[in-house]
Amino acid sequence: MAEFLAAAAAFVLACVGLALVRLLRGPTAADSMMAAQLLDTGGAAICLLLAASGGHEAIADVGLTFAVLAALAVAALSLRVRSPKPEGGKP
């Protein structure tokens, strides 16, 4: 069971990596935001699978933090794209 779950985690990691390569090469800002969103879902899945495959439960906490931070990353990217910081250092 532990090996099966670890193999499932590796499979999800491969899917995420494949999609990420394509998304990071995408020409638009929406592709970057979708990459962050993919890391959210995929990273949470990987961490939860690893936590259940005999690892410490702390890895599930890492997955939770991952989900929160990735959601914030998407929100921050959306703000950044819609109102880019003006040149000259003004906050």
């Binding site: 969103q37 998407v74 880019p84």
Partner: protein, 100 residues
């Protein structure tokens, strides 16, 4: 009982991984940014939900299982909100513009 739970875990995790793969393939192959977004947020979130459902029998204690459900709920809310943000961006035409 343990064998039944293990079988359920294996089947649900396999289904979840399949949906993850389907979402990724859709993400790579769909022609339009909005449909890619749809594949990403809907199929991948469903895959995560099935994986969490499959992992629930494997966790040793109730707090750990609740943590899994909390993570799933958080990702649901995050992907719902994020999909709205990304969709507005695409609708405003930035999907065809250069990366800022």
């Amino acid at each position: 009982m343990s064998l039944l739970l293990d079988t359920a875990t294996v089947l649900l995790v396999l289904a979840g991984a399949f949906f993850f793969l389907a979402g990724t393939v859709g993400l790579l192959r769909f022609p339009d940014a909005l449909s890619r977004l749809h594949a990403l947020t809907k199929a991948d979130t469903l895959g995560l939900g099935l994986i969490v459902l499959g992992l629930l029998p494997q966790m040793g204690s109730l707090p750990a299982a609740l943590k899994l459900v909390l993570a799933w709920l958080l990702v649901q809310l995050a992907s719902a909100g994020a999909s709205q943000l990304i969709a507005r961006l695409i609708h405003a035409g930035d999907a065809n513009g250069p990366r800022s």
